[in-house]
């Protein structure tokens, strides 16, 4: 369409093709935002933990020092960090377009995550079996909830890894798959960070009290 | 605080606030309870409120005027001065931030001062009250579903829905509740404070003139909540003493077992009072401990039937306890 205004041509008014945004960058940014939300979720749980970690709220039941298994916690920390490392090694293969390498990394991360959950699960189960289940007192309610919330996140991550194992094989490295792999790495590292917070706050500080 | 000054301030504001109400309804001013504070604590509340409101009006009124004048003045039909590109002025911005800032700073200062003056735990304003020289009257308040139990530990008596206190004495209230959170509130007299299960809270007031007030629960607690009123009677010391003696002679005793019956959810329409002698010395503590151990008084089905069900309300029409 011709313009009657002579200056129109000189001014930059339209920018054809400028709407192709980098999908992976927007996606990763969005995922960071989700992680902020998740961090606030953990913040609220930690705040509740701080409020309820108190003899009054134990209602005669045990407090942190009596319910944690610090050596197990340390092992869990090592395992989850190893799992993150395995996943990261997998993403190195992503750079080379090596599907088998990616799958191997994910598989290792997944198994280590499973081991982590196994330790958590047996510890909590044993605690509940001693009569110190989450319904015993408000403190135990928040103790179980904090650990199980983290555990559920881990479980979700493992499910996600299973899906990605298949997708890397079936779909190959499409834009979506690569975006998901990168976000999953963020997710997994974030859960490890949250675990370190749990370990520090519950196992070390709480155990020392 | 200076009472005459306070009265002057209220002289200004009361008619202002009340005018539309009168126009709207012909309601008597006596109905607007908060404009008639009784006692030092409520007086202080009103005093601070008035200063705060007047200070705020310093900024609200001109802004309101501008909100009315500008749209009229600059309506396109009036061809007033038009500066389409004028969109920033440092002076105006500085004033727009600065004036509210100054006013808010003053409000904050005043409010914090006021918070200490009427702090229900230990109202500063009562420290030098006439009644402060005598020992306080202690009353333990237990909110049940849906009645108020007042225990007088020093006198060894208890009442339901009838708070009687002598004039000229500081009254200390200690509160808790059985199952649900309630708000303790005597509009012209005492600050509102929540009465909560397994928790202890406090309130205090002093009244110098004999009078009768109505108290309410302000925090919703279930089907009978709307009927949770109680009378507050301020009587001369002598009358109070003889009242105490008469209640002490009452054969009804408020043991913990008797309390457990009273604490069953009940709608006390009309706030019919009841009186007991020799309450369990530690009734208040027992109620708190029970709540901590998870005792609740569940509401029977008849109150929570989905459909219209008469038994949900007291059989009798509640009387206005005023």
């Amino acid at each position: 369409m011709a313009t009657s205004n002579p200056t129109g041509a000189a001014l930059a008014l339209w920018n054809p093709g400028a709407d192709e945004h980098d999908p992976i960058s927007a996606r990763t940014y969005g995922f960071w935002l989700y992680l902020i939300g998740d961090a606030l979720l953990f913040c609220s749980l930690f705040a509740s933990y701080a409020v309820l970690d108190n003899p009054v709220n134990a209602a005669g039941g045990p407090l942190t020092a009596q319910v944690i298994n610090t050596p197990h916690g340390l092992w869990q920390t090592f395992i989850i960090l190893a799992s993150v490392l395995a996943y990261s090694l997998g993403t190195v293969s992503l750079k080379n377009g090596n599907a088998a390498g990616v799958q191997l990394g994910i598989l290792a991360a997944l198994l280590l995550g499973g081991a982590f959950l196994y330790i958590s699960g047996t510890d909590l189960w044993a605690l509940a079996a001693q009569g110190n289940g989450p319904t015993r007192s408000a403190f135990l309610s928040v103790f179980f909830t904090l650990l199980l919330t983290h555990g559920l996140h881990m479980l979700f991550g493992i499910l996600w890894m299973l899906v990605m194992l298949v997708q890397v094989g079936v779909l190959g490295f499409t834009k979506d798959v690569v975006g998901r792999l990168l976000n999953l790495r963020l997710f997994w590292q974030f859960q490890a960070t949250m675990w370190v917070c749990v370990y520090f706050y519950v196992y070390l500080l709480g155990g020392a009290r | 605080m200076n009472p005459p000054k306070q009265r002057r301030a209220s002289l200004l504001l009361k008619p202002l606030l009340a005018l539309p109400a009168l126009l709207l309804s012909g309601c008597t001013m006596a109905g607007i309870r908060l404009f008639h504070p009784a006692g030092l604590v409520a007086g202080a509340e009103m005093h601070y409120t008035l200063i705060l409101v007047i200070t705020m009006l310093i900024i609200i009124v001109p802004t309101l005027l501008m909100t009315i004048i500008f749209p009229l003045r600059y309506h396109h039909s009036r061809n007033a001065k038009y500066t389409p590109d004028w969109h920033f002025s440092l002076t105006i911005e500085l004033l727009a931030w600065g004036i509210p800032f100054a006013i808010v700073a003053f409000l904050c200062y005043l409010t914090i001062q006021g918070v200490y003056a009427v702090n229900p735990w230990a109202p500063g304003i009562l420290a030098n009250a006439p009644g402060a020289r005598q020992p306080p009257i202690n009353v333990e308040v237990i909110a049940t579903d849906w009645q108020w139990v007042f225990v007088y530990p020093d006198q060894g008596i208890a009442t339901i829905d009838d708070l009687v206190v002598p004039s000229g004495r500081v009254v200390h209230l200690q509160m808790t509740a059985t199952s649900n959170m309630n708000g303790f509130y005597i509009p012209q007299v005492a600050p509102m404070v929540d009465a909560m299960p397994a928790m202890e809270s406090r309130d205090a007031f002093e009244l110098d003139q004999p009078a009768t007030y109505t108290g309410f629960s302000t925090d919703f607690s279930g089907a009978g909540f709307s009927w949770m009123q109680f009378s507050t009677r301020v009587v001369p010391q002598a009358e109070f003493d003889s009242w105490v003696a008469s209640v002490q002679a009452n054969p009804n005793q408020l043991t913990y077992a008797a309390f457990q019956k009273i604490a069953q959810p009940t709608v006390n329409a009309g706030a019919k009072p009841a009186y007991f002698s020799a309450p369990d010395k530690n009734l208040f503590g027992e109620v708190m401990t029970a709540a901590m151990q998870g005792v609740v008084y569940p509401v029977p089905d008849s109150f929570t039937k989905r459909v219209s069900d008469n038994s949900a309300q007291g059989a009798q029409a509640p009387a206005s306890p005023q």
Binding site: - | H75, T111, G114, V118, G222, V299
Partner: protein, 687 residues
């Protein structure tokens, strides 16, 4: 582990039985008849006109931000109506049940609602108005306008956007179902603790409330993520931060608030849920539980939430006042700063909602002072709007009228809010009708802004304006009604009348209650004019210009009216803060692009609406403790998401010829028009 429940429970149906249907309650039965009739009429009409397929293809499965926005707004308006009916019922009950000798009808002792029914109504009123009327309206306008104002094709994550919508709808659906199957919560919209716990509240009402709230807040969190990502990542070339319209700034602030607070309430509700389902003791009075923890968590969400709703309203005023003053917004930078200050202060003042819970004077003093600080940026905003009008050329179009009354209400609401924030005063009126009047003033500001916004942008979306004459009648009747309803409440508050009463003890208050009831009648009149406005505008459909009001300043007025589904045929280059005003000044506002390039758009998908439906089933099953169905629906959601993640669909391409055709005949591209099926692209390996 499962908590024992009162009454029967069966593995197949959980707590559900025929007794849950309130067929013996005339009010609910007639409501059900009306709702069912409406449903039949709508579906019947769609069938009759053969539009069912159209609705499914073009609306229910859409990922277009404008259609999603429109559906949010429809949801909001429908729920606004239901919330209003609840309000009308409450006011009528209080009027009838005033004084010991007041009559009783329909089996109630006083008035016509027994306490348990009344309590559910006001809980539903608060819940619906906040989560399913105000929030969807705010989210809807944001969805509609923000991408247009920043020159984007769509939101950053269109598929997530649709999911947010359908999660919100599923929450609203649960509220509606609770009317006819079982009961709603009676524990107020804030969820009183420990009153909402199992021992004191054994019915399914609290569960309905909890799941409706939970689902909608998950939807809102997703929407917040989406909005932030859109504003940060999708701006057109040349749109630097300080060229962004103020409405986008306020959307950004509001969604930062939203993202930061909704997880907190999710945690609080989850804790309540596990208390109720598994018998833990977070918020019980006994066993070391701490219900004050809930109160704190709730208001850490709850206070920022009110600003989550208010800031977009401020943003709307900042768009509308300049347009109808035909003048640039005054003090743009401080407007942005004020939005962020309000948001920031909003995080640290939550405890002013429970001054009476026994915090010491130190904490009460701090929270009083902190709350008052918010008066400063709010005042700044008011001054900036006033100085935008100063030396302007003002026209009283309906959106401007709404903005002006919004400003007045803001002053009254602000004054009373500042009063309440002084805990000295709050000790006397907390939980009284004074508080109710305060926040309704504020909520009416939001309401005014939303009506202003809907009227303002309606022509952009649909191609014709709303009828001005009836719009103004609607405005005046609505304002009069609001004054009649809420001014008496201030006085009743001073008279010491507390809130949530289904019986009022003092018959002397009758006159004030009558005035308030008169306001309810007036609202019905305004509703009539609202309907007439819609009817007349739809009948006449007078075409509007691209710049519908003639004095628009921002980017959305640059594209066609009605806006094509692809927004801008060619992405605009941004040169100034008020791009359209700048183009007008240069005389190039009519210059169209000379050639088109193909546009890449996402395909529609049924996954979000399926997720929404499954979420409704999940909430319902959890409410009634039908475990097999809860697990099945949850698994179904996970499976649907996984299946969709294997989809290679890369969207489709709109060819340059198609665009040229539609640019010449804009109606073809309007969001109402049905689009032909365009073949989808398949994603290929990047390597």
């Amino acid at each position: 582990m499962q908590v024992a429940v009162d009454g029967p429970w069966s593995p197949l149906l959980g707590r559900l039985s025929l007794a849950a249907i309130p067929y013996d309650n005339p009010i609910l039965v007639s409501t059900f008849a009306v709702v069912a009739l409406l449903g039949i009429v709508i579906i019947g009409a769609a069938l009759y006109f053969g539009k069912l397929g159209y609705i499914w293809r073009e609306w229910l499965t859409t990922v277009d931000h404008k259609k999603i926005g429109v559906m949010y707004i429809i949801l909001g308006l429908v729920m606004l109506f239901r919330g209003f009916m609840d309000g009308a019922m409450m006011r009528t009950q209080q009027l009838l049940a005033d004084g010991p000798n007041s009559p009783g009808y329909l089996g109630a002792q006083h008035g016509y609602l027994p306490p348990y029914h009344f309590d559910q109504i006001y809980t539903a009123h608060g819940t619906l108005m906040l989560f399913f009327a105000a929030t969807p309206l705010v989210a809807g306008l944001g969805n509609l306008i923000v991408p247009l104002q920043i020159g984007a094709r769509d939101m950053a994550f269109p598929y997530l956007n649709a999911t947010s919508l359908w999660l919100t709808v599923s929450g609203a659906a649960l509220c509606m179902i609770s009317l006819f199957v079982g009961e709603f919560s009676n524990a107020t919209w804030v969820g009183l603790m420990p009153f909402s716990e199992m021992p004191t509240n054994p019915g399914v009402g609290v569960d309905y409330w909890m799941w409706a709230f939970q689902l909608s807040s998950i939807g809102t969190t997703f929407n917040a993520i989406n909005m932030i990502a859109t504003i940060v990542k999708m701006r057109a070339p040349g749109m630097r931060w300080f060229r962004m319209p103020v409405y986008c700034w306020s959307s950004l602030t509001t969604n930062i608030i939203g993202l930061s607070i909704f997880p907190v309430v999710t945690v609080a509700l989850t804790m309540l849920g596990i208390d109720r389902y598994f018998g833990t003791h977070f918020f019980t009075a006994g066993y070391g539980g701490n219900f004050m923890l809930y109160v704190n968590l709730f208001w850490i969400w709850g206070h920022p939430e009110v600003y989550f709703l208010m800031l977009p309203a401020f943003g709307l005023f900042s768009e509308i006042v300049p347009t109808f003053s035909n003048k640039a917004l005054f003090g743009y930078p401080t407007m942005v700063a004020a939005s962020f200050s309000i948001g920031g202060i909003g995080w640290v003042v939550w405890a002013h909602h429970f001054f009476t819970m026994g915090m010491g004077p130190e904490l009460n003093g701090y929270f009083s002072a902190a709350t008052m600080l918010v008066g400063i940026p709010t005042g700044v905003k008011a001054f900036n709007w006033l100085f935008t009008m100063y030396r302007g050329r003002i026209t009283y179009a309906t959106p401007m009228l709404w903005a002006l009354i919004g400003l007045v209400l803001l002053l009254i609401g602000g004054l009373t809010g500042m009063m309440l924030s002084a805990s000295v005063f709050d000790y006397t009126v907390h939980n009284s009708l004074f508080v109710v009047a305060h926040f309704h003033c504020m909520v009416l500001v939001i309401g005014a802004a939303l009506f202003a916004g809907v009227t303002y942008w309606w022509p952009k979306v649909f191609g014709f304006k709303l009828d001005e004459r009836n719009g103004q009648m609607y405005f005046w009747t609505f304002v009069l009604a609001s004054l009649l309803v809420f001014v008496p409440l201030f006085y009743l508050g001073f008279a010491g009348v507390t809130r949530r009463l289904d019986y009022i003890y003092n018959p002397a208050l009758k006159p004030l209650l009558w005035v308030s009831e008169g306001g309810i009648g007036m609202y019905f009149v305004s509703l009539f004019y609202f309907g007439k406005m819609l009817y007349v505008s739809l009948r006449d459909q007078i075409p509007a210009q691209a710049d519908a009001w003639g004095t628009g300043r921002t980017l959305e007025w640059l594209t066609h009216t009605p806006v094509p589904f692809y927004n801008f045929a060619v992405t605009p280059q941004i040169n100034a803060r008020d791009e359209l005003a700048w183009r007008k000044a240069k005389g190039v506002e009519g210059v169209q692009p000379t050639h088109y390039v193909p546009i890449h758009l996402p395909s529609n998908t049924a996954v979000p609406v399926i997720i929404g439906a499954l979420a409704t089933v999940f909430g319902f099953a959890m409410t009634w403790r039908i475990w097999w169905l809860s697990i099945a629906s949850l698994l179904a959601i996970i499976i649907v998401v996984i299946i969709r993640s294997f989809d290679k669909n890369e969207g489709y391409v709109l060819s340059a010829e198609d665009i040229a055709k539609m640019e010449n005949q804009v109606a073809l591209a309007s969001i109402i028009a049905e689009q032909p099926k365009r073949p989808a692209l398949a994603q290929v390996e990047a390597h």
